[in-house]
């Protein structure tokens, strides 16, 4: 079953076409990797889907519901969670409090919200850091915090913007494992990622963008061999 259908989605900022006629769909329970060079329109696409930026034209359907142009809080309330490229933790609150704010969406009672938040914090392997303020956490831990906070709203679809961006090499495998573990819970994931090896490893499908346009969409193997993708993004070591 298709959880998300995007048709001809476009957005311009003045004369700049951030996204042009983007089309793709996502199967429930799968991972879609989004790749593209800087400025390709990947984060803008996330903003358009989650309502943080109003699209100019197109159609966005979450299951059968049209979510085109709806406000972000309403979209998240339908079950679309997200993380941000530039991390946005509630810095002066503890990790537990950060996740509880998300957990309150499903749990009205403070004790139950807290228990649910603790379970999710345990899931992301940060249980020992639960009383640390978000500002005291490392970048990798903050990435986990954002994932935990987004999971706390019990999303059906989770959009993750650069899970491994800005972290050191040793931290990356743990985050990748976490994404795989997340998939096993049944949540559908769309992830923006620069590391092509990670994308190939975790994705069921890949969407490649360049200059705001879709240049390829398909299984990782297809994308890896797609000439347009190679020219625009992957490049080749074989210059001759």
């Amino acid at each position: 079953m298709k959880i998300l259908t995007v048709e001809n989605l476009s957005k311009s900022f003045g004369g700049i076409h951030a996204n042009r006629d983007i089309c793709f769909d996502v199967e429930e329970g799968s991972i879609l990797g989004v790749i593209g060079p800087n400025g390709a329109g990947k984060s803008t696409l996330f903003d358009l889907i989650t309502g943080f930026t109003k699209p100019d034209t197109g159609k966005v359907k979450f299951f059968d519901k049209n979510i085109f142009g709806i406000s972000p809080d309403k979209i998240s309330n339908l079950g679309v969670g997200r993380t941000f490229q530039k991390l946005k933790p509630f810095a002066d609150q503890t990790l537990l409090e950060n996740v509880m704010i998300g957990a309150f969406v499903k749990e009205k009672d403070i004790k139950r919200a807290r228990d649910r938040a603790l379970e999710i914090i345990d899931f992301v392997d940060l249980i020992e850091k639960r009383h640390h303020f978000a500002k005291e956490l490392s970048t990798g831990q903050r990435k986990r915090l954002e994932m935990a906070r987004a999971m706390a709203i019990d999303p059906k679809l989770l959009l993750m913007d650069e899970v491994t961006g800005g972290v050191d090499q040793k931290t990356i495998p743990g985050l990748v494992e976490l994404v795989k573990k997340l998939k096993k819970t049944g949540v559908t994931i769309i992830t923006i990622e620069h590391n092509i090896n990670i994308i190939m490893e975790i994705s069921d499908n890949v969407l490649a963008l360049d200059q705001g346009k879709r240049i390829a969409f398909g299984e990782p193997k297809e994308i890896q061999n797609n000439k347009q993708v190679i020219d625009a993004y992957l490049g080749t070591f074989d210059a001759a």
Partner: protein
């Protein structure tokens, strides 16, 4: 069974510090007992002003400290509360105990009406807009004949002390207890608010509105809710102040200085912290009152110079306010580590 998770779940929700609770309970008992030791009129007045300013600052703390919106026109709600009580008592003989709630209601309505357009603004723009709203209330009341225009309202005095009219001429002690009870109730309610789902969500709006939106929080609505709560806390202080001095006019109850002082008190004590306004009021109000006594009139503005100096020092060395001097190991969240 995950042991660490079970340990975490078994922790109390609020790790209350018994030593702190004992100190607070002792202070509350002491505050109730103080007038019994024959406090003179000045000290009663001093404590009344501390209680009043602490509640006013707490009101500002809800909108600025909890939800992150800097309002510079909060004096308007103080004035509305003052006029509501005095006007309905003088015109219709309605006891202030009822019209206090009417003042709260009207303030809440105005907060919604002002908040819907204003809270679309943020940061400095919101602050400037509220400043102008505060001033415009003063101007309107200066020209509104029904409420005495610039002369204001002289509350009809009862011949004797009267609880129903909330007027006490023989001693300030009853006022002391009325203000004290409002002070304690307000702080308890705001303390509860800070620990409620609403409190969590307001802090999310304050810390990062975009992240809050991604967690199903309608940021605009929550800002308005905070503004309304804040206004409804401020209004009763206007009502009680009107009953305390029995004469109100626009320059006194809509003065921009009210909005600035509640800001200073909160920032000094610690913005976003329930205890901040108490600490701020306990320090700034005596400075103001003593400078008024020793320097006459409005204190020759020396109190304002003091305020400015203290604020500069705080902003440079203790941006989280004086509350940050309290050792971290007795703060609840840290203690759990």
């Amino acid at each position: 069974m995950d042991n660490k998770l079970e340990i975490a779940k078994s922790e109390p929700i609020w790790n209350t510090n018994n030593r702190v609770i004992s100190i607070i309970a002792g202070l509350v008992i002491l505050l109730f007992a103080l007038p019994l030791f024959g406090m003179n009129s000045f000290y009663l007045h001093l404590f009344i002003m501390i209680f009043m300013h602490a509640v006013m600052a707490q009101s500002w703390n809800v909108i600025a400290g909890f939800s992150g919106q800097i309002s510079l026109g909060h004096g308007a709600f103080f004035g509305i509360g003052a006029y509501a009580t005095s006007f309905f008592y003088m015109e219709y003989g309605i006891t202030p105990w009822i019209s206090i709630f009417f003042g709260m209601f009207v303030s809440g309505i105005f907060a919604v009406l002002i908040g819907i357009p204003m809270l679309r603004l943020s940061g400095h723009y919101f602050a400037i807009a509220t400043l102008l709203i505060g001033i415009s209330f003063q101007v309107v009341f200066q020209r509104w004949d029904l409420v005495g225009a610039a002369s204001g309202l002289w509350v009809t005095m009862t011949p004797e002390d009267s609880w129903s009219a909330l007027q006490f001429h023989s001693s300030k002690a009853p006022y002391y207890y009325v203000f004290l009870i409002f002070f304690l109730i307000t702080f308890f309610l705001v303390w509860l608010l800070s620990r409620s789902k609403l409190g969590y969500r307001l802090r999310a709006v304050r810390d990062d509105p975009q992240a809050a939106l991604s967690l199903c929080i309608n940021v605009s609505n929550y800002k308005i809710i905070a503004y309304v709560i804040s206004a409804m806390i401020m209004a009763p202080m206007g009502s009680l102040f009107a009953q305390y001095i029995l004469i109100i006019d626009p320059d006194r109850v809509f003065n921009i200085e009210i909005s600035i002082i509640v800001l200073l008190i909160t920032v000094l004590g610690g913005i976003g912290n329930v205890w901040g306004p108490i600490i701020g009021a306990a320090i700034l109000v005596p400075i103001s009152e003593y400078s008024r006594i020793y320097l006459g009139g409005t204190g020759g503005a020396v109190d304002l110079i003091f305020y400015g100096l203290i604020l500069m020092i705080i902003c440079i060395f203790r941006p989280n306010g004086l509350i940050s001097f309290i050792p971290k190991d007795i703060l609840e969240r840290k203690k759990q580590r």
